[in-house]
């Protein structure tokens, strides 16, 4: 064999090796003639269908948040690798995979257990009414469920099908009509067989690429093994019970104020009946969180050093992709943190409504909070 022939054989080998994955990816997706409204109905009907798989999400939102906001900065600004086994709404397990360990969330009824391998601890908590986003909220079905809430059919169009996690997935585009929204559009692809959303892309500025993408890389629509979904803390692990899950839950339980019923024309969610207000629905949402001076001060300081921050009369204002952040007040004062997928004008209007519409908490809530405080101690 001559030198030329030998090198030809090597080149052929390289081509063959490269062609296999490219060929697999080139398998075309089978589309289906189904309207956007019917696809939406199919996605909604898949809500109680079990599934499991491996998910990767990638956020492009660099939030200037501190440790007090759990790992929300990493969830919305970095890549997150997850494994999920979803048997039902109140029976699931989501593992956040880390290079040197994992942090798992296991839901059983209203009880959530968070297992951290590196800290060798299991923290239990009751699922509160209001909390910050966590890994399980980034799963394509959970994300799609939230984004498609109260959506109008006129906001929807069909997209071409594509292959996601080796399955045929039918595409749907949501372009919100609400003038307050900072989201340009949301693209999602749902499993052709079950209707379970397999990939979600959220766009603020379409030219800048997706602000958040979450997609299955491996997917199964089979019922997960019950033994896998179950969790018992291992011997030697520290087990604790948290009465307060995060800063949003704490403020909601203990802050002695109630925000107004509407902010910037968006109605308050009925489930948010205490100190933290959740407004709007679907892709157009605002969260209004009361903060004490010792929490608001450092956050304000951090916001003011962030590139692109705007100081208005209402407070410090920042847009991170499609996410708007406004912290009212100045210096070391307490204030309202208003965050949402809305325009800056909407945030300023929300601040005006907060300035005039906040009420002191009714007595019943104070009694409840004090009872909780006594229990905690």
């Amino acid at each position: 064999m001559t030198s030329f022939n030998r090198w030809c054989a090597v080149a052929l080998l390289v081509l063959l090796v490269a062609a296999v994955p490219i060929g697999v990816r080139a398998i075309p997706a089978h589309d289906e003639r189904v309207s956007a409204a019917d696809l939406l109905a199919r996605i909604r009907a898949s809500g109680d269908h079990p599934y499991s798989g491996y998910v990767e999400s990638r956020g492009a939102l660099e939030l200037p948040v501190a440790d007090r906001f759990t790992d929300i900065g990493a969830l919305l600004g970095e890549q997150t690798r997850m494994r999920v086994w979803w048997a039902a709404d109140h029976r699931w397990r989501v593992d956040k995979l880390l290079v040197s360990g994992e942090t798992d969330l296991v839901q059983r009824g209203t009880l959530t257990t968070e297992w951290s391998y590196e800290q060798n601890e299991a923290r239990r908590s009751a699922d509160p009414d209001i909390r910050l986003p966590r890994t399980a909220d980034l799963l394509p079905p959970a994300l799609a469920d939230r984004l498609l809430q109260d959506v109008d059919e006129s906001e929807l169009t069909r997209l071409d099908a594509r292959r996601v996690a080796g399955r045929d997935a039918l595409g749907l585009r949501l372009r919100p009509a609400a003038p307050q929204s900072s989201i340009d559009h949301v693209d999602l692809w749902a499993d052709r067989e079950t209707g379970i959303p397999l990939r979600v892309e959220v766009y603020g500025d379409p030219a800048a690429g997706p602000a958040l993408t979450s997609a299955f890389r491996d997917f199964s629509a089979a019922d997960p093994d019950p033994a896998t979904v179950d969790f018992s803390p291992p011997a030697g692990a520290e087990v604790s019970y948290d009465n307060v899950l995060d800063i949003a839950d704490a403020a909601n339980q203990y802050a002695p104020v109630v925000p107004p019923d509407t902010l910037a024309g968006l109605a308050k969610s009925p489930s948010a009946d205490r100190a933290v207000g959740v407004y709007g629905s679907g892709v157009t949402r605002i969260l209004a969180l009361p903060m004490r001076g010792r929490e608001a001060g450092p956050l304000r300081e951090q916001l003011l050093t962030t590139v692109g921050v705007r100081t208005a009369r209402a407070g410090s204002l920042l847009s991170v992709g499609p996410l708007g952040v406004l912290l009212t007040g100045a210096g070391d004062d307490g204030g309202w943190l208003v965050v949402g997928t809305v325009t800056q004008e909407t945030l300023l209007a929300a601040a005006r409504d907060l300035a005039t519409g906040v009420r002191p908490v009714p007595d019943a809530h104070i009694r409840h909070s004090l009872t909780r405080l006594r229990v905690d101690r």
Binding site: T2, R6, V10, V17, S100, G101, Q119, A235
Partner: protein, 271 residues
Amino acid sequence: MILVELRKMVRSRRTWTTILLIDALPTLVAVLLAITDLGPRPGQGPAFLSAVLTDGTLFPLAALAIVLPLFLPIAVAITAGEAIAGESQAGTLRYMLIRPVGRTRLLVAKLVSVMSFVVLTVLVVAATAYVVGTLLLGKGDVTTGSTSISGTSLSTQELLLRTLLALAYAMLCMLGVAAIALFLSTVSESPLGAALGTLAVLIASTILLTLDAANALQPWLPTRYWLAFVDLFRDPILWRDVVRGVLLQLVYVVVFLAAGWANFTTKDITD
């Protein structure tokens, strides 16, 4: 031919000095952990290092996580880089090939010798780490076994099986490095050049892995799945990256050995 190369490798003082140096780092880490009882903070430091404070039987894995990213590949690159280029530089390659020895056979013998070095090193590191881990660090709970990353219990047999799989996986990753170095060793006449060339490939791969713009390239980078052995200790085992890692390393081994063979069998030997 293979036996000659193996004997040469085992009798070489340099082989054992290299293994000793590689072994020294995890041993030092174990001693420091035992004295200070201070594990790395969550999310920082090599995998399993926080867990060994309570379960020393996991220390072979922590040792693997310590040496796999840098120490082991350097040793493999130097050893494999020297295989052909070293003989060439010493002026012995010409004489070796005068004997009735096929060039392909010589290449295979060199590869087997390098691989044996990798197996020997990984086993020595794991065995030392096991002894040091069980003597100096936590003993774990004999009745409940070890804890998987997902918080479930692993019996001693399960832990042993998964540890052996992890060691085999690490050896395969190093075989990929050896294949690249062996190819460069047939190209360069300087063993240092071949070793540094291999390290340049590995460093470039590590840098590209941190770059979002290189997303499309990342599944093909040689170091992409090196630390996937950690997934063998999740419950259930996450095979996704391990399988991809095995296939990728096999691709590197086959392609670079073929390139090494194509280059070496028709190369003019002047030294």
